[in-house]
Symmetry: C2
Subunit: 541 residues, 2 copies
């Protein structure tokens, strides 16, 4: 480009070329937020940055995120930018459920200026079935959202059996998304190879739910883009990477996700940088791992001419790295400007007025039915998120506490004995659950009432009966605080439940998914205790 003076020239880089799959020495010109030059010359520039001895790679892309694990879409930025993730494809679920399509659209407008590249995935149905779901998720309400340029497709379709059964509404919704040239994210946990055929035929483009090497192979071979997950709940890359190191599959249609990690996992490990680190530790070639975190998701979303590589014309999002093993960037740029240096962001984040976006949710806590006078179901925890039914009882066994899912308007409550979650828990209340109602757990009625009262008072939150509480005023799920406050809140919550006997890794996911009607075992739902496999209610509320 004759006569162009660049804003910046990055000199003496070892460049990760994700197109050719090579490491190449060179200089990088940047002007107007885009790369202008990559090669041996030194085009003129206002500022020269010498990076001798360092690697320069395209910044990471997270193709599948949930920006609501206590942190919110603003505070999450503090957690993830320092590790080099500058593009995130976010699930809309709780924002949509809280604020409706118009409110969610206003939120997209309000977040447009954030110093990160967010794209959104819009749910075609909710995660937990509820009365009124069909009206809330009517296609006429979703279509204007799906058409927006910030929306890259539909979010994880957790009810995959509908696709396999060729449900007309589900297939029509998928066809609509494809007609816009956008992607349909799947969620085919537990689907057999035979059923995955039907899911692929129905148009699901990607899945992040493989938990074994074989499940990676199954999805990839059926043409489904396969996202290897290393989340705080399911840190599976050591297993999943065997598909690459042992079976030598082509990885061009493989991506990486951390699938909504808890705040501490981000603070301690990172975001997509953590998934990269685990891949390389598992024996994956570093360039191939970087492709999975850059050009592969860019190509999947049809954005390869904009993102995912260091080449002229692309947006200048990059990381500068001391090595290709730890993936801890010394500097992160987005559109050619510094956004993080040495693990800290270098910019102020804007304040967002979440209340004006209708994100505050009210909870009633009167008349919690804490007296058990007849047999109610027992739900026994087997892992962070998996339960089994264990009969009906009127009296609790030693490892049981009472669980109540109470309507936020006070009209109904679903109850069960919760076994092996936290046997010595006196009282905990949480609006942080997929049903978005008031979940109360404990063995001490007074402590349970105090916890519920605290959550109701702050319009959402997580509270113990001993006075400790975290307000979650954004959709009952998120703090309106800095990222570091989210990390601290999670640590204190974990300390509290661990003292009460919680034996698993991730209390946030245990609380979130207790009401989730697509995970195995029995679940507390607005209609009662559900046996997921049979689809039958074990007991109405």
């Amino acid at each position: 480009m004759p006569d162009l003076v660049n804003d910046r020239l990055i000199r003496n880089a070892t460049i990760v070329n994700v197109y050719s799959g090579e490491l190449l020495p060179g200089n990088i010109g940047i002007a107007g937020g885009r790369f202008t030059y990559v090669g041996p010359s030194e085009p003129p520039a206002a500022e020269v940055i010498d990076v001798k001895g360092l690697y320069v790679a395209p910044a990471w892309i997270e193709p599948h995120a949930h920006p609501w694990l206590l942190y919110n879409p603003v505070s999450m930025i503090e957690g993830i930018l320092p590790g080099g993730t500058t593009t995130v494809f976010n699930d809309d679920l709780f924002f949509f459920l809280q604020a409706g399509p118009d409110g969610f659209a206003r939120m997209l407008d309000a977040l447009a200026g954030l110093p990160i590249r967010y794209r959104w995935l819009v749910r075609l149905m909710s995660q937990s079935e509820y009365d009124g779901e069909a009206q809330d998720f009517a296609m006429e309400k979703l279509k204007p959202l799906l058409a927006r340029p910030e929306v890259a497709g539909s979010a994880e379709l957790t009810r995959w059996p509908l696709v396999w059964k060729r449900d007309r509404c589900a297939l029509a919704a998928i066809a609509h998304v494809h007609g816009l040239g956008k992607r349909v994210d799947g969620h085919t946990a537990g689907a057999s190879y035979e059923k995955l055929n039907g899911v692929a035929a129905g148009g699901v483009d990607a899945c992040h739910e493989a938990i074994t090497k074989q499940e990676v192979l199954d999805r990839l071979r059926l043409g489904i883009w396969t996202i290897l997950r290393h989340s705080s709940l399911r840190p599976d890359i050591p297993e999943l990477a065997r598909s690459i190191t042992e079976d030598h599959i082509d990885t061009r249609r493989v991506m990486l996700t951390v699938d909504g990690p808890a705040p501490r996992a981000i603070a301690e490990g990172g975001f997509i940088d953590e998934a990269l680190r685990r891949c390389v530790a598992a024996g994956v070639d570093p360039i191939e791992a970087i492709q999975m975190a850059t050009i592969n998701p860019a190509t999947y979303y049809g954005l390869d001419r904009e993102l995912g590589g260091i080449a002229p014309g692309r947006r200048a999002d990059l990381v500068i790295l001391p090595d290709l093993r730890e993936f801890r960037p010394v500097r992160v740029m987005m559109e050619g400007r510094d956004v993080a240096i040495d693990g800290r962001i270098t910019l102020e984040l804007p304040r967002v007025d979440w209340d004006s976006l209708r994100m505050r949710r009210e909870f009633q806590n009167s008349d919690l039915p804490l007296e058990v006078l007849e047999p109610i179901p027992v739900m026994e925890f087997k892992s962070d998120a998996i339960t089994v039914s264990a009969g009906m009882q009127t009296q609790p066994a030693e490892a049981d506490i009472l669980g109540v899912l109470a309507d936020r308007e006070g009209r109904w409550a679903t109850r069960a004995w919760i076994r092996n979650l936290a046997p010595r828990l006196d009282g905990l209340a949480s609006s942080y659950n997929t049903a978005m109602h008031l979940l109360v757990l404990g063995r001490d009625r007074a402590a349970m009432r105090r916890a519920a009262e605290a959550v109701a008072q702050s319009d959402g939150g997580i509270a113990f009966g001993n006075g400790w509480n975290v307000p979650l005023p954004i959709a009952g799920m998120m703090m309106d605080s800095k990222f570091s406050a989210c990390v601290r809140a999670q640590a204190e919550l974990e300390e509290g439940v661990r003292a009460a006997g919680y034996p698993f890794r991730d209390i946030l996911y245990s609380l979130l998914f207790l009401c989730c009607d697509f995970l195995p075992g029995s679940r507390m739902t607005p209609k009662g205790i559900l046996d997921v496999k049979s689809g039958r209610l074990i007991r109405n509320h």
Copy 2:
């Protein structure tokens, strides 16, 4: 998919899985034109086809074609389907120049029912500059074409220096194509690595003009999708494949093209099947070669959920092959139906009324200025398509014949001595040239006049002065005949020019490009004899 009875089940296949990069045994279900099942089971089907011992691969995709080398878009089908190419991205150039935007749009409608998958690329400017070009190619006229669903992007941008120089009109046109989510095909013949940076920055997505291994590396590393060419004019895969066999580049962004081969090259070698054969002969892994001809172009054009692989939901376009070396399919299916068996198409091709599509072009041949009374330029042929200027002469040297490019409306003529093309050629006339005027060549004025008369009489064609002629009534470029007639015509033309001393490979490209203002050397243009490098006219007409 419960309760589905397939139309066909292909049993006992060795399947080329382009997603995982593996050969896998399995059965393939097809219903409603799409794959429904791939795997070990045998879902019910109306017809079972056992292919034990044979390979099944996705059918080939040609990302860059010119359907006008004597054959037309209908007769080309006869030539290419038997070899397994079922999807072709075609250049619109001569149809657009002949019939204008409305006529071209009507042609797309008329060709909609053909038993092949044509997608079109629309030129943003012509190949040879001419008066009125800016009006003919006004963006307002191109936009409705670019928006059509059969149009996948813009066709090869031969004037790449405009992009490098950041010409505002060129960049705006490219941005418009990208805004539609479509692709910008490039043509960066001879561009240095430094200038390629500017071409990439300007938004050119792909290029097929690498003629050395290094040029492949240059393009690929700069983020340009790189199309390896093996055409009748430039059969370069033995050289280009060295980028793969020696440098081990990642091939995910590499495709294959035969870039408009002459009819005989198709009849004798094939189409994309020929490019595959040459790749594998050059040492490329067969699965990787097949990816370059299937999933890579499908991904490039954003069609990977529809085309390019054998997986549920994709259109059932496939080839059944005895080996992965010769790539001669025993059976070709498109959307699950047989379209060719053992090298012959199995269906009737429709008749298209080209005249009603305004594809007939008239030529005047009165007053051909065949007397040379003052010095005119000498153009010396160095290869099929490359010339150099060799001074000015009034009298021809021994290897010279007279060349006249005469306006089809008789208003002007450009003249030169043509050296080392066919010294003993008495007379040849051809409407087959990029200027779409009347090109007359020879040493015998009477023979030249007779040839010109024959071309004018048939509204386009190629004729010798001895009475032999091929009518080209479609835009002056294409026969309205079966593919076999095109092969015969080319053979006879070659025999005629070879007898007159033609020393090169491909007379069709020599005729086509003599007027092409982007190829090196000097060119006959409507404005006079042009020195391409300097952009100066050596002599006005």
